[in-house]
Structure formats: C-alpha cells, structure tokens
C-alpha cells in the first residue's frame, strides 16, 4: 500500500530578551547554576509575576510577519503539573486566547512554493533544568532557565514529508532571526521543536493516529526522527498493529523513537486563566510601532534581489538566508559600485567558503563589507587579476589592511603598460624558437605555453587580455 505522511510542528523559539518573561532576572546562557534565578523564578511564597513588555512586542512582530491575526486581547493561563524543575507547580502559558492566531508561511520545495498554515503562536515561560548526573543518585535543579520567555509556534498538519518539515522549520528559524526576536541557537536550546507525526493510506481523508516526538534540537535530527517514526508506524500497521496516541522520545544515538507516555498517562493540565496577570491588550499604537519596525522579510527580500540585482533564484536564496548576509551584500554592492554579479560571486563562493571553513558566521567575518568592496573595485578596474585577487583576499582575512595597501605593499598591481608587456613577450619569443615553430605549424595548444611564460615572468601581474592580444599579433 502507498502511505502518506502527515506532519505538524510545535516550535519553541526562545525570545531574545535581556530579562525573563515575568521577572527582572537575566536570561544570559551558561551561568553558574541558580545564579540567575530571583525570588519570582524560585516561586517563593508571596511572589507575583509581572509581564515583560518586550516579550509582547516580539510576539506581535512575529504575528505580523506571518500575516496572522494578532489578538487584541489575550490571556495567560496556568498549566498545572508537578515537576522539580517547575518551581510553582504550574507553568504560565496561554491556552484559550493566544496572542497570535492563524497565519501562514511559504516554503519552497524543488522550485515549487507550498503554503504551510500556522495555527497559533503563544507566549509561555520555560522551566528550569533537572541535572541527573554528578549527584550520586540524586537530582540537581538549576533554575537559571526558569522563566525564560518562549514563543510556541504551532503549525497545521500541512507537511507531507520530513523534508518539508525541515524546510518549514528552517523558514521559521530564518524568520525569527530576521525579526531579531530569537538568536536561533540550537545547541543552547534557543530553538527546538516537537513533531506530531502520523501516516495514512494515500487518498484517505481522515488523519491517522499521531505520535508526538519531543524536544528535537537540530534540523538533521528532525528529519531523521520523522523518517524513523514514519517507518515504525508503517511497519506497525502493515504488521497488523495500530498506532496509539502517545509522546515519544527520539534517541539520536540509536536513531530510534521510544515511548515516553501514552495518552492515558498524559497529565490533565487543568488550565485556567492566571489570576495574577491582567489580560494582554494590544493597542493600536503598539501595532503601528511594530509595523513600522518590521524589517523587509526574507521572501520579499529575495524577490527584490532577483529584480534589482538580476540575481538568479538560488543565489538570491543564499544571499537572503540571513538578514546580516543580505545587508553585507548590499553594502558591498553600494560601496564598491561594482557589478552585482561580481559582488555575489565573491560573497557566496569566496567569503562564505572561508566562513564555513572557519565555522563562523557573517557577523564574525574578519573581512567587513568595506574591505571586501575595496578588493572588488580593484578587480573591476583591472588593477589586479582574479587570480591575484584571491591572494589579496587571503591577506585581507589575516590582517586589517585594506586591499589597496596590500596591493601596494606587495607590488601586485597588474601590468597594463603595453610597452613593458611587449618587451617581455619579445624576449619569450626569442628564447623559445622551438615552441614558436610548433605553433606556427598549427599546434594551437602551444599558445597556452606562451601565456604561462608571460604570466610567470610578471608574477601574474600582466593583464591577461593584453598578453593574449599581443601574443596573437606577434605570432602571426
């Protein structure tokens, strides 16, 4: 039988605020355990939560970016369950009235655009961490993360393959970073997801029973976890079994999913509106402010790059994959005044290659847009050849000098003086009568030898076009 996979994702994006969602404690990552947990985060008797306004602004920004309904009125609710790293015995989240309603996002698969529905996005606080190692059979609790703001983005079950799920997750990842509401750091857990996965015979209308895969924190694992789960479900059904609704954990070491708890064992969270917090009202002023502050979004930017810079779709996708990279590109184009294609080639091939190799991102690039522009100018005005340019690029990477300084210091200026080139070429012809003979008898390949000799004699600085032209004239 042919099976169809149905996937919906719940993505948790940690909002990039300085302080927590309901307290003034810092959200910085990696501090000593329990040094960033104040009385409110510890859930001490008598403390009360106070909403961080910045969190609301960020959620509204996200809502507008996915063209969602931003609720004029939303409500925080208590989600009740006991766990040692959940200090209050309830998590403050949103249930019936989330801040962001129905929206959508387009993904591109094999050149085709597919629209994925976003059901809702709501605000909530993160829990702390339970540390099971190093405590000799006991459990340690670190509450630094408790109260960190999260935006939970819930999709419709619109994805039909693990690849689509990854494409959607990447798109959300790109978007939240564009909006500067989440740093997207997956190692630190700032961006993670749960996947709801089910299968059904192709053509069937009703959904199959789903399993929820918990807390997957890389694109690679999302794809693997979904694929392995789909395989498990199909094998199960084809073997005469039935899928049960349950929460499963993906084990990346063994590449398998295993049951955490079934629906029957699931908590009754007893949600109810949190009486300590007022409903969140989104004023028109805030809406207007957020609208004005909304950056150009990835899809729009990509279309503009295609149109304005005559870039192809693939290059535009690469250049707009992050806001910083797109800005970098535009700033290089502007300050160099060079042809757009030259700029994009150097950025996507040379710069991104070097960045990847060094495992750093564009923000940490040792070559800023100004210095790269300086190099491109010298390529375009023929001061240096493309080959020499690569040499200059390496020096730019390792130093703080400008391209002009490097060219000057190392004497890399291209020789365009035809008199000087002529002298060199004449000498080469005189010194290599045998090759001249061969060439004149019809062995065209030998031409390359003369060019090579000329470049060698000038340490690559001769203008290749000039050399070609002159050799052709002389060897007639």
């Amino acid at each position: 039988m042919e099976w169809e996979t149905v996937i919906g994702l719940e993505i948790h994006a940690q909002l990039a605020t300085k302080s927590k969602i309901f307290s003034a404690a810092s959200t910085a990552y990696g501090s000593e355990p329990n040094t960033q947990a104040c009385a409110v985060d510890l859930g001490l008797p008598g403390v009360l939560p106070v909403l961080n306004e910045e969190v609301v602004r960020m959620a509204v920004k996200f809502g507008m970016a996915i063209e969602a309904e931003v609720a004029p009125y939303s409500v925080f609710a208590r989600k009740n369950y006991f766990y040692p790293d959940l200090p209050k015995g309830y998590q403050i989240s949103q249930m019936e009235l989330p801040i962001v309603g129905t929206g959508h996002l387009d993904i591109e698969m094999d050149g085709k655009v597919k629209r994925i529905g976003v059901t809702r996005a709501h605000l909530e606080e993160d829990a702390g961490k339970s540390l099971h190692e190093d405590f000799h059979g006991l459990t340690g609790i670190d509450l630094n993360r408790a109260g960190t703001p999260l935006l939970e983005i819930v999709s419709e079950p619109d994805m039909r393959s693990a690849k689509e799920a990854v494409a959607y997750m990447r798109k959300i990842h790109e978007l939240v970073r564009y909006l500067e509401i989440c740093d997207g750091n997956m190692q630190e857990g700032s961006f993670r997801c749960d996947a709801n996965v089910s299968v059904r015979p192709k053509g069937q209308q009703e959904y199959g029973t789903r399993a929820e895969l918990k807390n997957i924190n890389s694109f690679k694992f999302v794809e693997k976890a979904i694929n392995i789960e789909v395989e498990r479900q199909i094998d199960l059904i084809e073997g005469g079994g039935t899928v049960i609704q349950e929460t499963r954990l993906y084990d990346s070491d063994k590449n398998e999913t295993r049951s955490m708890r079934s629906k029957e064992e699931a908590n009754d969270y007893r949600y109810f509106p949190d009486p300590d917090l007022l409903p969140v009202e989104i004023s028109n002023t805030l809406r207007a402010e957020v609208t004005a502050s909304l950056p150009e979004l990835p899809t729009a930017k990509k279309q503009r790059f295609i149109k304005q810079y005559k870039q192809d779709s693939e290059t535009s996708t690469t250049l707009t994959s992050s806001r910083q990279l797109a800005d970098f590109y535009e700033s290089v184009v502007e300050s160099s005044g060079c042809e757009a294609k030259l700029c994009s080639n150097w950025i996507t091939v040379n710069l991104l290659g070097a960045l990847n190799k060094a495992d750093i991102d564009i923000n940490q690039s040792p070559i800023d847009s100004e210095r790269l522009a300086g190099l491109l100018k010298r390529i375009e005005d023929n001061t240096i050849s493309g080959k020499i340019a690569k040499q200059v690029f390496d020096t730019l990477w390792d130093s703080t000098a400008t391209a002009d300084e490097i060219i000057e210091e190392k004497g890399l200026k291209q020789i365009t003086d035809s008199g000087a080139i002529e002298t060199i070429i004449d000498k080469i012809i005189v010194d290599n009568p045998q090759q001249v003979e061969q060439y004149l008898s019809g062995k065209d390949k030998v031409f390359g030898f003369f060019v090579g000799q000329a470049m060698k004699a000038t340490q690559g600085k001769a203008n290749p076009a000039e050399v070609n032209k002159m050799l052709k004239d002389k060897l007639k």
Partner: protein
C-alpha cells in the same frame, strides 16, 4: 497607654510624654501576660525594641510619619525578611522569608514597630482560626469562643490591646468576620488597592490586605500607609490614594443607605438583626435615608466562591512541594513519595479539602460545569451590586449570621463553617471595599455592622464609620481582664 488611639500616641511620642521604647515595652509586657490567647505565632521582641530605639531617634530628628514608633503586628501571611513566616501552616514552620512583602516594606518606611506575627487559619482557609497549625485562638470576650477567621490572631491582638493596630487579609470575609466577632474595626479595601506582593496567596483574584484597628480613625492611618499601586503586583491599580483622614468628619446628611433584603433572611439571628436595625437608626439620626434593595444572586455566592477560591488555591499551593523550601518529609523513596508525603504530612485537613475541591473543579470534563459557571455567577453578583449601588450610596447589613461560636463547635461540619461567611463572600467576588464596625453586643459578644461601598470609596466608608463612632461607644468597649 494601651487604650490610646494612634493619633494620641503620636502626640505623646512627640511631646516626649513617653518614648517608643517605653510604649513598645508596655505592649511586650501585655503580650507576655496574655500568651494564653495564642494570638501571636512569632514574637519579635528583640527586633521590636531595636526598631523602637530607631524610631525614638527619628522622632527627635523630625523625619517621621504618624506611625513612627507605633507598635503594630502583622498577620503571619505577609513575608517578613529574616523573620519566620508560617501562614499558619506546618508547611512553613521553618520558613524564614528572604524578602519583605510590599506592605511590610511600607510599614518599615513609615517607622512602625513590629511586635510579631499573628496567628491565622492555615493559609487563610477558615472562619474560626481553628485550622491553624499553631492551635486555636481564644476570643477575649469569651475565651471558650472562637475569634473568627482567618485573621483571628489579628482581631484578638487589637481587641485584647496586644497591639495598637494590625494587618489582616480578606479573601471571603477574613478581616470583617473576625473584626465583627471580636468587636473591632476592620476594612477590606477594593481589590487592587493594596499590593499583594509578598502576601502568601490563597485565592489571588479575591485576596486583599487591609487594616484592623480599634477605630475608623486608626484604620484610616494604617490604610494610608498600605494603599497604593505596586509595580510588583500587576493586579494592583494605578490610582491616586486619597487622604483617608481629612474627610473623616464630613457630614453624612442625605447619605442613601441600602439594606439588601437577602441580608436579613431566616439564617440571621434575631438579636443580631435587631442590633443592625438599631445601628441603622443611628445613621438615620445623622441624616441618612434608608431604602431596601436587592441582591438577587446572593444565594449563589457561597458555591461560586468555593469553586473559584478552591480552584485558585489548588494551583497557588502547588509550589509547596518539598523541593525548594518549607517542609520536606524524611527519607523520601522517590519523587512521588517526596510530593505525597511532604504535602500529606504538612497540610492540614481544611487545606487538603480545598486543594481537592479546586483540583476537581478544574479537571477535564468538569471545568465548564464548575469553574466557567462560577465565573459567570461572579459576574452576575458584581452586576447585582452595581445595580444596588446605583440606587443608593452604601449598603449595610450584618457581617456574620451569628456571634462568636464555641471553639470546636463547627469543626466537624465544613458546610456549617462555610456559612459563617455568607454575608461577606459576595463582596470579595465583586471586588468591592467593605468594613465591619462594632455596633453592639448580643449576650456579651460583639456584633459588627457591615458597610459596603462602591469601588475605591474607602475614604467614604471610613467617614461613615467614623461618624458613627463619634456618636456611639461600641468600639471603645474592652473585654474584661484586658482594660
């Protein structure tokens, strides 16, 4: 000295008739003499004398408030830094708060001297102070009777002159009912008038701190310090605090008093009904007009309250899990055992009952039938009050259907106990301000007059109470043996 008002004491301190240290010592002596009443859980003698010394210095330097050097006491529900804060529970028997509640902070700034922390029903759940882990509190008017609750220790401290004035909290009547049963003046402010930060939560949407004192005049001085917006409490209201003392003597001629007919039903003791009628006629003499009004949904107040308050408390008390603070059982076998035994061993039966009720009411399949319905009733009750208060300026009636009942009399019948708050609970559901004013005695036990005002009219309530206290002396009565 212990029968003087705050205003008189403030004058005495300034004319150096006595010092704050002397005043504090006098109170400490009285407290030690009457420990059998059991109204203090923690007694902060050393700290009190230290703050009294500091107050004396301030008094001589001139930077003072009316409360500088005045010995008061706090309900043990307010977190006090470096002082045990128990909330009347075994759960917090060893809990030393690492911070001050906003209300405590304000009293400290005003230079008030804290004598200690007052007994209360466990987590403020109770109407007789008998659910306290620290034992029942005796009513000084008749020591085999309860003082009411949950602020029972607070009411007794004022009534027996073991503090000049005190704080209480009122979720369903916990200031007014004990004030009524102990013959003192208690004010539950409008929800949002006093910060709840650092006040251990029972039912967050109903809890409100307020003053308990001998007179409206003293209550006004306390409320002045307690009231105001607090950025640490999102439900506190950012609204100017009027001067509560300046209008106390305003004329109340033409005041329109409404008597809700549902307050005078068959459940009300006849003698109490007569006492309330006498008090109302006193107001007529002062120029007030009286009219009958109706609060048709009153009968739904108790069931709605017990759903909402219990639902909220079931979540509010989840933080007491034996993990970070408070009681932890010995040698837990695993996590579940830690939870079950820590909570099982440290919560009293009334607290457990309410957690169970609340958990049930919020459970899947019951939420709409209980919680949502109760919220709708809450709205209806608020609308009833809105309607009534559009016809009249103020509502009056009894605070409690009975006078102080015997210790142990109702402990086995929770429903009977819940009915003790039948007249007070609706006010919390509506979030309105209300007072209990001493209005007479029935069989030597005090009776309180319930006065309910519109939102943020605490100044008017105090004015109305003060005018009455100018022409009556019920609030000046002292129980025998405590004169």
């Amino acid at each position: 000295m212990h029968n003087k008002t705050i205003t008189d004491l403030a004058k005495g301190l300034r004319s150096q008739e006595f010092s704050s240290v002397e005043l504090t010592q006098a109170y400490l002596k009285r407290i030690k003499k009457h420990t059998d009443l059991n109204c203090y859980i923690t007694f902060t003698e050393e700290q009190a004398l230290k703050s009294a010394q500091q107050a004396d210095k301030q008094l001589s330097s001139g930077k003072t408030s009316l409360l500088t050097g005045i010995p008061i006491a706090q309900k043990d529900i307010f977190c006090t830094q470096d002082v045990k804060t128990t909330c009347g529970s075994k759960m917090l028997d060893t809990f030393i708060a690492p911070y001050n509640a906003t209300v405590i902070e304000k009293f400290n700034l005003a230079g008030a001297v804290m004598l200690g922390k007052l007994n209360m029903d466990e987590f403020a759940m109770g109407s007789s102070n008998e659910t306290s882990f620290y034992g029942a509190v005796k009513n000084p008017w008749q020591t085999d009777s309860v003082p009411g609750g949950s602020s029972g220790g607070s009411a007794v401290a004022v009534s027996a002159r073991l503090a000049v004035a005190v704080t209480g909290t009122d979720t369903g009547g916990s200031i007014r009912q004990p004030a009524s049963l102990c013959g003192i003046t208690g004010l539950k402010p409008t929800y949002g008038r006093v910060s709840r930060y650092g006040m251990i939560a029972f039912a967050s949407s109903l809890d409100q701190g307020g003053p308990m004192a001998r007179s409206a005049e003293d209550a006004a001085i306390l409320l002045q310090t307690m009231a105001g917006f607090d950025e640490k409490d999102s439900t506190s209201v950012d609204k100017d605090v009027p001067d509560y003392s300046t209008g106390l003597n305003n004329s109340i001629e033409g005041l329109k008093i409404g008597l809700p007919k549902e307050f005078f039903n068959e459940g009300l003791n006849n003698d109490i009904a007569n006492t309330i009628e006498t008090a109302v006629s006193e107001y007529k003499k002062l120029g007030a007009e009286v009219k009958e009004v109706s609060l048709p949904n009153m009968k739904l107040a108790i069931p709605a309250y017990y759903v909402i308050a219990s639902a909220e408390c079931s979540a509010n008390l989840s933080r007491f899990d034996g993990v970070r603070f408070g009681y932890r059982c010995d040698n837990p076998a695993d996590l579940n055992d830690l939870y079950i035994r820590s909570r099982g061993e440290a919560f009293g039966s009334e607290v457990k009952r309410r957690i169970l009720m609340g958990t049930y009411a919020l459970s899947a399949g019951y939420y709409d039938a209980y919680y949502i319905k109760a919220q709708k009733i809450r709205r209806l009750i608020a609308d009833d009050f809105k309607q009534a208060l559009s016809e009249v300026d103020i509502l009056m009636g009894p605070v409690s259907p009975t006078t102080a009942f015997g210790i142990g009399e109702k402990t086995n019948d929770p429903i009977e106990m819940y009915l003790a708050d039948i007249y007070t609970i609706a006010v919390n559901l509506a979030g309105l301000p209300a007072m209990s004013i001493p209005a007479g005695f029935v069989e030597n036990k005090p009776v309180g007059l319930h006065v309910i005002g519109n939102y943020f009219t605490e100044d008017k309530l105090l004015n109305i109470a003060h005018k009455y206290q100018q022409v009556t002396n019920w609030h000046l009565q002292t129980p025998k043996g405590f004169e």
